[in-house]
Symmetry: C2
Subunit: 456 residues, 2 copies
């Protein structure tokens, strides 16, 4: 019989009552956001037109290490949190590794992912401010679903601009958002100026995340009592997602474990930072040394491993502020990788900074290798991972196999951020052998870099 | 702040180590199974050709109240159990009811339902006996998925006969079973005599559960080292599913609760008995009085509320033994209700007996009312119920609303047996107003009853 249980749950009373703000411990901050028209640093007032007020303060907060989670929001969290840390005994057995593999599983809610953590927070603050309606974009659909659920709970209207190709390929995602009362518009659409301009230029386009962001922001600015909300990239989202790591750390403490390696998939970065932040705190403060932090991204959209560290727009339509980040260029169109949540040209400025300063490593993996790992994991652990999460699974397995070679019994923690219930087309394509890997050439990347704005 | 937590989890060490065999406490047993050729009671040897040996003993066991869960199986359970009992605070608030509503949530595993409890048990015993491959049928796909997962874990081959209409409408279900390594055959197929005969008579048929059972049984009998397994109806399945109720009872004891009303949806009956068995024990033994047990079935397939208590075949092809049960006739074709898991002409003989003897009530509900309840529940509690489970949600809400009228603070427990991730077509149909209710006429039922076998 095993000493450490398969699933380590905190009790309700042990759940975090504060978020952890990693930026308060960072030695240096990322460069300021810039206004898209003037390239001057964005002020709070500029931001408040787009985002809810309290979220703007959180976005700029580099001093408070811990920020209270409002009680009403704690109550909401209790419907689906705490989420378990799982010891992957069966995966260890299948791999024949001496490594101890743990994963934090965030997929056990109807949104199917960690996105609900920030969705609920953002809707809560919007409601508190008297905002009546929200707009957002969604690609893979996890964020849109999470936000629909939160809006249904707190009683706000929601319009989701869904990347057209996903809208058509994922009718079930549309269905679940509609069940929770959201209005779904395929993007690009004729409901915004940005959308109409893009449709005119590219009549048959399937859209992109960058384009859907532009439309959602424009719609929010033009609608009374409305704000825009975003599911990743921003510091506010990273803050909310810190509940993942806080719970993981507390759960591992219960079994006297501290990870040697922490692995998270990274699209915009919220899942990765959410998991690693409270452990990174120990590294930044010098209380722990030699913890490895690994960001995993798709080889088809390699912003960290092959991107430029430069100022860029966060969207295709160039209506959002610029951020200094690792980017492939806001006009880079990633190939039709099945991990829609990782198909973003940029990366959270905070992660970009940490990566630039050497605190985080990055690995890019090909999707057939990712699905191979996903199927191995599913068969061993009975959970079907989301393609996004499977990127982390791939690298966790690779690290565990290295341990088999070296004989080291390292403790590995990775983030299983979501489930693959809406991604069976991708699994079927993998099983049938029709899935291909696409790796952009240097020339492809140069085309993206050529669109980077010239910021002094 | 609430005293009772939202989600009540047992610790791993509190998980049941034995199943509870309700039949050992029943005053009278259901009538024996009969051989389909001779109408004579079926002996152990007849059953062993179809089912695994240990499962045959469990099927016939009316004396052992508790049966050990093998250790290796307990380990498997730990990957997805214990499942929580949830206090539906938000649903209570939305309904404005003084009732205390609890639900046992069995959907947080990749099969999406409680089916994995028995799937794992059956595959475990098959492996122990040296069986190499299994056959089964699946309708909605929850059972097929669960069995695929268990077979992947224990290393057995699996062939699933999937009702053709589901095979075509639910490619994602097919995809997830294939991911776990199962072979899926749309039924009726040309791989069995029964299938060929049905295809000849009804060339364009979309199949039925009863027909898929016939094919799976035939295939098992003709394949070396192969057995057939079934996901509901049988006593062995009811036994395995008792973990649901055992956990629920232990969790409620932790918060000093005992339900006044226990509600479960009933197709074949495994979910219902799984939940109610340990509470029914108290009623049968006289230690508790006045507990209400309610079985919920679709108005379109009302085997308990409008069926006959009679001997009938368990399948359409008449290759399985006969059971005395509430039935609509093995040739009754239920309408295209979206709750595929409840579209079965019969009902577990044990439940039929308990219902016949007045221990259980039954309610039939129309599917538009079911989906109305499902959407209310989803918005309040953030979980998207399976259409099958939503039948129980409907009646739980109705009982809670009665409490609002009467002012009674009853304690209601219902089984949320699964999630609706693969049922978004149904939700969309409900939201778009294209869902209809079908209630069979007395004439429709008479046609079904006319096919009942003449057993002396």
């Amino acid at each position: 019989m095993s000493k450490v249980p398969y699933r380590i749950y905190l009790s309700e009373s042990e759940m975090p009552k504060q978020w952890y703000n990693l930026r308060a411990d960072m030695k240096e901050q990322h460069d300021p956001y810039l206004h898209p028209a003037t390239f001057k640093p964005v002020g709070l007032d500029d931001m408040k037109a787009i985002f809810c007020e309290e979220l703007c303060y959180q976005e700029m907060n580099t001093t408070d290490r811990f920020i209270d989670i409002p009680e009403e929001l704690q109550e909401f969290y209790k419907m689906f949190r705490p989420s378990p840390v799982v010891r992957a005994y069966n995966l260890e057995k299948v791999l024949g590794t001496p490594a101890k593999i743990y994963y934090k599983f965030e997929g056990n809610n109807t949104s199917g992912s960690h996105k609900l953590n920030s969705a609920a927070a953002q809707v809560y603050y919007a409601k508190k401010q008297g905002i009546k309606r929200l707009t957002t974009e969604t690609g893979a659909g996890q964020w849109g679903t999470a936000l629909s659920m939160a809006c249904a709970h707190f009683g706000l209207d929601l319009t989701v601009y869904m990347v057209k190709v996903s809208y058509e390929q994922k009718p079930f995602r549309k269905g679940v958002m509609q069940t929770f009362g959201a209005k779904i518009i395929p993007s690009p659409s004729d409901t915004t100026e940005v959308g109409r301009a893009i449709l005119k230029e590219h009549p048959g386009t399937g859209g992109s995340l960058g384009c859907a962001i532009s439309e959602a922001v424009e719609a929010a600015l033009k609608t009374p009592d409305c704000r825009y909300v975003l599911g990743s990239v921003l510091n506010q989202v990273l803050l909310h997602q810190s509940v993942i790591g806080l719970e993981a750390k507390a759960a591992l403490e219960k079994v006297d474990e501290y990870p040697d390696i922490i692995i998270g998939s990274a699209g915009g970065g919220s899942n990765l930072v959410g998991l690693v932040a409270p452990f990174m705190m120990d590294t930044l403060n010098g209380t722990r040394k030699n913890t490895e932090f690994i960001a995993v991204e798709p080889a088809s959209c390699p912003s960290l491993t092959r991107g430029r560290y430069a100022y860029d727009y966060c969207d295709t339509g160039h209506v959002t502020p610029l951020a200094r980040m690792y980017t492939l260029g806001s006009n880079f169109i990633p190939s039709a990788n099945h991990a829609g949540g990782l198909r973003y040209h940029g990366m959270s400025p905070a992660i970009s900074k940490l990566y630039h300063d050497g605190y985080i490593k990055a690995v890019a993996v090909e999707q057939t290798k990712v699905f191979e790992a996903a199927v191995t994991f599913a068969k061993a652990e009975t959970i079907l991972p989301a393609p996004e999460s499977a990127h982390a699974v791939r690298v966790a397995i690779d690290e565990a196999l290295k341990c088999r070679e070296s004989g080291e019994a390292k403790t590995i923690l990775f983030g299983l951020s979501g489930t693959g219930f809406f991604d069976l087309n991708a699994y079927t394509s993998y099983l049938e052998g029709t899935m291909s890997d696409y790796i952009p050439t240097d020339e492809d990347l140069e085309k993206g870099f050529a669109t980077l704005p010239k910021v002094e």
